[in-house]
Amino acid sequence: MPKDHGIGASIKRREDVRFLTGAGNYTDDINIRGQAYVYFLRSDVAHGKLNKVDTTAASAMPGVVRIFTGADFAGVGGLPCGWQVTDRHGQPMKEPGHPVLAQGKVRHVGDPIAAIVADTLEQARDAAEAIELDIEELPAVVDMKAAVKDGSALVHDDIGSNLCYDWGFVEENKAAVDEAIKNAAHVTTLELVNNRLVANPMEPRVCVGDYSRATDDYTLYTTSQNPHVIRLLMGAFVLGIPEHKLRVVAPDVGGGFGTKIFHYAEEAFCTFAAKACNRPVKWTASRSEAFMSDAHGRDHVTKIELALDKDNNFTAIRTETYANMGAYLSTFAPSVPTWLHGTLMAGNYRTPVIYVNVKAVFTNTVPVDAYRGAGRPEATFQIERVIDQAARELGVDPIALRRQNFIKPDQFPYQTPVAVAYDTGNYDATMDRLIEMADIAGFAKRRKASEAKGKLRGLGVNCYIEACGIAPSNLVGQLGARAGLYESATVRVNATGGIVVMTGSHSHGQGHETAFPQVIAEMLGIDESMVEVVHGDTSKAPMGMGTYGSRSLAVGGSAMVRATEKILRKAKKIAAHLMEASEGDIEVKDGRFHVAGTDKSVAWGDVTLAAYVPHNYPLEDIEPGLEETAFYDPSNFTYPAGAYACEVELDPETGKVTIERFAAADDFGNVVNPMIVEGQVHGGIAQGVGQALLEGAVYDANGQLLTGSYMDYAMPRATDVPFYQVDHSCATPCTHNPLGVKGCGEAGAIGSPPAVVNAVLDALNSGGIKVAHIDMPVSPSRVWSAIQKAKA
């Protein structure tokens, strides 16, 4: 019988009611009396010298309040980068400046040149057209490999090259890896592109800056996954506003997927301009602006080599990756191709030595940073594609080859050769579950049926592992993070027993307002409806690091558990006093405090009332009130893992691929709300299918973004995907956080792209065509061309 209460219950989401009735409060729904609107004049060339930005005529246009250019920000800090990577030679990465508004040069299409503040958006737009620009176009740097060759144009003249860093990991293992590859019985090599993606949360970015002359306080409303991080970065590094004078609010946020982690120029601008203009200043991105100003994701070009011995055991992996940083370093960009990618290259396997080389490159394109999965999809794609190809080359079953090399259940905790140590897992169990769910036994029959229609059918199976619950602060500090990655919670119990949890985690689709109370309800034996979650406002919640990297429950939830444990300890003292019993004899059950072995009990509400009306209260021993705060810093990452299967039908006449079946067997450890967890996996799979079959941000040789709208960038639609089968029953609980949870937000996007591509290649090769690889997105034209090439 499924649970209907507490941890493990699929409770319906309370936040849905407001979203379903149009009562949500998104940033664009916020209007402040007297607000002005800003329109950003953005570069339409990828690379150019700004010879003149003349705003004289434009400033005189109707409704214009003020026009700002780079010169207005000369005395202001640039946008900071939150992670410093050290290169193979012990040198820090190159870290060029990132001005709020372009100074001297424009470096990508969409780089903001001027900001026009006016009474209405239309007036601001009209005035933008009257700004006189003289931009001397420079050669655009687009191709990463060409960018690092001598003689390339430079995105940043002052750093002397387009190489941000050349990172080697694990550098000490390089010789051993080279040796293992030299001595291997078989080496499979693939060259892979991990296509550039645009995160595309359905709500475009918005910010509203407000300033009070009365108190000298600033407020920024912004579409962020982590308002405290924005307060810290913008306040301390850009505008010099102390945290106690700056409030950042992220109300209902319409999806993030990583791209709303970062601190953006528009946030700093609206906050700065609110004081400069003495009016609230609002900016709402159009979708076209989002395409050219939201940080993009992925964009890796990789060569991977997998070495195997004569018995098909993996002996080494060596990779060389070019990772696009775009024109400037976005907030966490340097960490994505390094510590979120290199450390995952062991996958689910016992490969003894691994060497990962990453060259991060500046180009005249939009900055690239974390997008759902961030580094881990790139790692998974390489590993799982190369294993499939190795199986094909060796003529062995791809599932058997994986199983043979799995880390076995009795080998945990498992120290990988790439720094991380997996705490738990059972990869055979998820694979067994997958085989059953996906009805792999019935595949041959389904293939025959497809072939009878003149179609090809393919099955792609792969595993994945990710590192979530980001992250132990002392560890990431050593790796270059410039922030701690703990999370916070304040649990405030009111006199009448109701509870408010103020968390640094931020919910933008994940359902925290429903799931977090389930944990507290379970711990205290009270009803979920007595618990309210407050998030997204730096003036309410304690300093927290926000939501990304599938960390909210594992880190934020753990902070909440710790704070609730403190509440329980104090409440038991109060209960013991009220019942004249010993504290050690108090038990909590069904919302009452009982004296063990007696029929004496007091209700939760009696205890909470006593805490605030302390007439009969141990005042000599404890303070009145019932409110506790905890900061939780994890001791390790969590390691969700699983096995995915995709079945496709392929029309060899047109190259069209249809996804017929998709199954996902995940190990997320313990699960608080299965309904929400399954929804997270569904969404992740659709994004992974999107990457595999449809999506791709494309720049031409001049650095023009060819995919700048939904007319050109193919988002997955309802007709592109099937119903998915998902399962999370093979759970090995995390050993180092109090809930035993691992995180589920990114798994679908990490595990699914190789499953889809493996399935397409299986289909093609089943038709007697030899194709080793097709780059994503595996579009009909690419499939068709591969068929024609193989036939020729």
Partner: protein
Amino acid sequence: MKVTMTVNGKSRSGEVEGRTLLVNFLRETLNLTGTHVGCDTSQCGACVVHVNGQAVKSCTMLAAEADGADVKTVEGMANADGSLSVIQQAFQDHHGLQCGFCTPGMVMSAAALLKENPKPTEAEVRHYLEGNICRCTGYHNIVKAVMAASGQDVSNIAAE
């Protein structure tokens, strides 16, 4: 110019410019912020409302064109007693929304579909919702919710 239309059963008027889109009139003038803007090419469907009973992307229509029309937005979808309508309830029951941003458009499109086709197949639901993009749910639970709202048994969908 002045426009007058019936919105969610009430007569509403306002001054608009010729270029004002219906969605902006609803959001900015009438403060009905449930209707959302997710793109600028009429692709995403976050702005779908009903105009004279037809599902319309309100970013593709001028406010002036809706002068005299009967308009229904997501704010007008709940039952008279304030409880969720069958479609809204099905979205909650089947977890057909996550961040909620595409949801108003999805609900309005789904309502229009069920009016035209009271028992749609899975393929018909997917086809009808092609003009509504959701980035969160992978559509699984949206399709399930719409089929459930039509009274069909969805308990075996994607059963293992």
